[in-house]
Amino acid sequence: MGSPALTGLHDRLGAAASRAGRSGFLILGLSILLFLALAPFTPALASKGNALNLVGNLVPLFVVATGLTVVLISGGMDLSLTSIIALTSVVGAMVMNGDTGWLAGSPLAAPTAVAVMLLLGAAAGLINGVAVALLRMPAFIVTLTTMMFFSGLAIWISQSKPVDRLPDGFIALGSRPGIAVGIAAVLGGWAHLMLTRSLFGRWLHAVGQNPRTARVSGVPVAGVLIAAYVVSGVFAAAASVLYTARLETGSPVHGQRLLLDVLGATVIGGTSLFGGRGRVAWTLCGVLFLTLLDNALNLLGLSHFTIMMVKGGVILLAALLDGWRSRMLYGS
């Protein structure tokens, strides 16, 4: 049993931490601290070239994490994001490939391929959404299964072969930081407005906080859930556009190892794994933190295994913090 002074201190600290914890911007402060702590040891961290690297690494991760944010707010989960990236990558590349592409040589090849990728992402999200919302299947099982299905489909369609010779106009989407940042800003801005200023955004939060109450209140829960997964699929496809353009190749294994980064960045930002809470700006902060951490640890010359352990530890801490915040806000 502690003294009254200690108890008071504990309560004040708890209240302050709770206030800070409710804001995903806490992580922005941690990012700045991380940068300031490491910059003296790694001069390259603050260089212009590294800033461009950081932006290049951050942008596609932010796009796919924003899609996941929408699903998490609705109380769902989407593990199939990485496979949607792979599937849309190979299909898009096969549409516009300069040798054997269905639109090889056509000036419409790149825009058509992008449209096909986005539509395919939406279709994949629709499958997930229908299974979760109408068939009442657990999101974890549905998206784990579709992750395997979409990944297998991508490998089967491409016969495991990467597809290159993509049009220059398409490659520019990933290789020019300004264009990639513009795409991410438009998508992120749209998602932010949708979540904070629209009726659909309020429905999403309501469904994530308590679907039964939301249904009683007249929210079309099934429709909202399906739409959330469609948004997630489209954002994964948009990230696939950026990854495919950046690597100048469509590949059935693009994004294969990305899930922990996407989920980790979203949760670190403050979006709740338990639904009902999250913001695009928080996700941006989470992505910034994880990308900066990865980049800085790389620049420090730490081994791959050390980096994995540090990142895993940070994500675990974020998940613990999320559980703690949920208990503080909603009780046990």
Binding site: S47, G49, P162, D164, S251, R257, F305, M308
Partner: protein, 347 residues
Amino acid sequence: MKSSSHPALLARRRFLPAVLGLWMAVLSTGCGRDEPSEGATATGTAERLTVGIAFETLQTEYWVAGYEALKSECARRGFKVLEAVADGDANRQLEQVKNFITRRVDGIILVPKDAKTCLPAIRAANAAGIPIVLFNRPAAQSDATSVAVVADNPGLARATVDYMIGEARKTGRKHQAMILMGDLGDINAIGRRDGFDAAVAAAPDVIEVVSRIPTEWNQEKAQAGVVNGLQANPGIRFIFSSSDFLFPSIVSALKAAGKYHRIGDPGHVILGGIDGDATAWQMLQDGYLDATGVQDVYFEAAQSVEALVALREGRDVASVILDPGFVIHQGNFREMAEKTWGANVGK
């Protein structure tokens, strides 16, 4: 009890210095990676280069052996080494190469994820004027400039399978054969398959290929494929694996079918592979494996580092440097132990 001596506060006072100490230790460990290992002696060049080594994965013994061989070669020359492993992610590999460029390394040695997704990384190194050498996997044809040090996969596979066919011929009967193929997006896997095909095409009187197992370099798929292949064709007496790391899967399937016997036993299935890893080495010693084609990791590592030095000095370097490798079998494996990396794993 005074609050200043409360255990929680004492623990907090100790906690902060401990965290700071740990932080400094991590930083010093990380920064220490930039320094060459003690006792490294500069040979071959007076320049003390910093080399970035980026591997796609360290999931198999072969890649670990290659990684260690490269670091040893750099240490022998007194070079600093920066390390990165992409864990199979082409995008992460591109980020890591860009990090090397940011740190102004003098040269990059890269094991690419595949022949095509590595091209932006090579272009980035080209644009920065940093020489780049691809270890064991070449890049696709493009405007990007690099040197590749690769095993002669078709030649090595052909020589290995030729030896196996010779063993089959000694029995005086025709053999049904199985091949385990790798990821056909990997040019090494294609080369090994082509070497196998060329060898068996020249021996139709001895070999009939009845089963082709696509493994995508996955042990579970290999195991399931061999089980199915042996059920469909119980007469298979000749198995070639495109990589030695698939042997545990093959052995498991053969044991389940009651067909895992030593050389000389009437039920022996002729076995051969490529790589020369520790498992293959043990199987050779135990008398179960007929032959394996060994990639000369030490030769490839030495050639890779030498190519970087030559490129920096402006000397001409062939765009592809071939490692001819060598075949080890029951007749010669003991005398080849020193050159066989699999025999030296864990020493």
